[in-house]
């Protein structure tokens, strides 16, 4: 059975969207840089568990998330710090702080593992949100694949901004040469580059769901889209505002 077979969907789904979702689903169960295939699929499951987690819902209402303690409604296969991080990214990302990440490091969740986890959570979330937006059932999670993690770290890293190391502006060279062209990028593109595949994954999904990097400067009508740039940015802005995202 093929993943993301949209033939039975009530609306025609663009082929590039189906392909982007399918490609990510093929990568998800394979060993990553810092998590095994089984752990990566478990992280994906926590992305789905978070919206109905009673602890997360209680924390969301609290003045401070630390004011509410308890156990997450979660599956198995991940350390508690990873479960908590996955749930917070989905449910309360605006209150994630440098101290929270440093405390997780002290508890054994490295910044490298955290960044890969962020990448998995948000990739799965965005695919699931596309389905939820259209009233489609969620795709079943893939079966984990065995193998060794790579422990890959980019050669050039900087701690000039944000809570985690990132590839610097001039760092898109060597193995990272494909990340962005000519030293021109934005903080949100650099954000997950401690694990370069995390950027590659979201960039591929974004090219289908939103716009490819090389089309970002086109403020007119993209011939591959049914909505124009103002319509696109209205949606983007409203979603960002509801999520209280300053960036």
């Amino acid at each position: 059975m093929t993943f993301f077979d949209y033939d039975s969907a009530p609306f025609p789904i663009r082929a590039d969207i189906a392909e982007a979702h399918r490609t990510y689903w093929e990568k998800l169960p394979r060993p990553g840089s810092w998590w095994t295939g089984a752990e990566r699929v478990a992280i994906a499951a926590e992305s789905r568990n978070a919206p109905t987690c009673r602890l997360c819902l209680a924390r969301k209402q609290a003045l401070s998330p630390e004011a509410v303690t308890g156990e997450h409604d979660c599956g198995e296969g991940l350390p508690p710090t990873a479960v908590d991080a996955a749930h917070r990214i989905v449910m309360d990302q605006g209150r994630i702080t440098r101290r929270y990440i440093e405390n997780n490091v002290a508890a054994g969740l490295s910044k490298e593992a955290y960044v890969e986890l962020v990448g998995i959570v948000v990739a799965v979330l965005s695919i699931d949100e596309f389905h939820r937006g259209l009233g489609l059932p969620l795709e079943r999670l893939p079966v984990p694949e065995a193998g060794e993690i790579s422990r890959y770290r980019p050669a050039m890293l900087s701690e000039d901004t944000g809570f985690v190391p990132m590839v610097p502006l001039e760092g898109s060279v060597g193995n990272e040469a494909d990340l962005w062209p000519g030293g021109l990028t934005a903080n949100v593109v650099r954000a997950l580059t401690l694990v370069p595949d995390a950027l590659r994954d979201w960039r591929a999904i974004a090219a289908a769901q939103y716009l490819a990097f090389d089309r970002m400067r086109n403020f007119g009508q993209d011939e591959t889209r049914a909505i124009d740039r103002m319509q696109i940015e209205l949606i983007a802005g409203r979603v960002s505002a509801v999520n209280e995202c300053f960036y």
């Binding site: 609306f11 025609p12 663009r14 969207i17 919206p51 990214i89 990302q93 605006g94 209150r95 994630i96 702080t97 440098r98 962020v118 948000v122 979330l125 965005s126 699931d128 949100e129 596309f130 939820r132 937006g133 259209l134 009233g135 901004t161 944000g162 809570f163 934005a186 903080n187 949100v188 650099r190 997950l192 979201w202 999904i205 974004a206 289908a208 769901q209 939103y210 403020f219 007119g220 889209r225 049914a226 124009d228 740039r229 103002m230 319509q231 696109i232 940015e233 209205l234 949606i235 983007a236 802005g237 409203r238 979603v239 960002s240 509801v242 999520n243 209280e244 995202c245 300053f246 960036y247």
Partner: protein, 118 residues
């Protein structure tokens, strides 16, 4: 980006659409009201999603609905990338950006601290 795209297209818009003003969303943007309400329902996970999906479908058709769902889903991801690793706004001194942030009043958001304190 909404302000920039409106300027590039020489179109008057009302930025308060970003804050949920349905009448504002209709200014200069085709199906703006329906698109804004659909995006809001996706992001807030509210019970009106089915209603707002149907309203957008009836007003604009399935191709617009599918593209809108893609963009909403994409930004459900992007906001979480930005806030999860605490990145600041790239250029806080940009005049247009300052105007937009002031107009929207978004410095009240907790994640503003990642940029204001940077």
């Amino acid at each position: 980006m909404l302000r920039v795209s409106a300027m590039q297209n020489a179109t008057e818009i009302d930025l308060q659409a970003i804050n949920g003003d349905a009448d504002g969303a209709a200014v200069g943007i085709e199906f703006g009201r329906e698109l804004m309400r659909f995006a809001e329902s996706v992001a807030s996970r509210d019970e009106a999603l089915d209603q707002h999906r149907q309203a957008l479908l009836e007003a604009a058709g399935p191709a617009v609905l599918v593209d809108a769902a893609g963009v909403a889903a994409n930004f459900q991801r992007m906001v979480r990338i930005a806030d999860s690793v605490g990145i600041p706004v790239d250029n806080m001194s940009n005049e247009l950006g300052q105007q937009v942030r002031a107009e929207l009043g978004i410095e009240r958001f907790p994640s503003a601290g990642n940029s204001v304190a940077a």
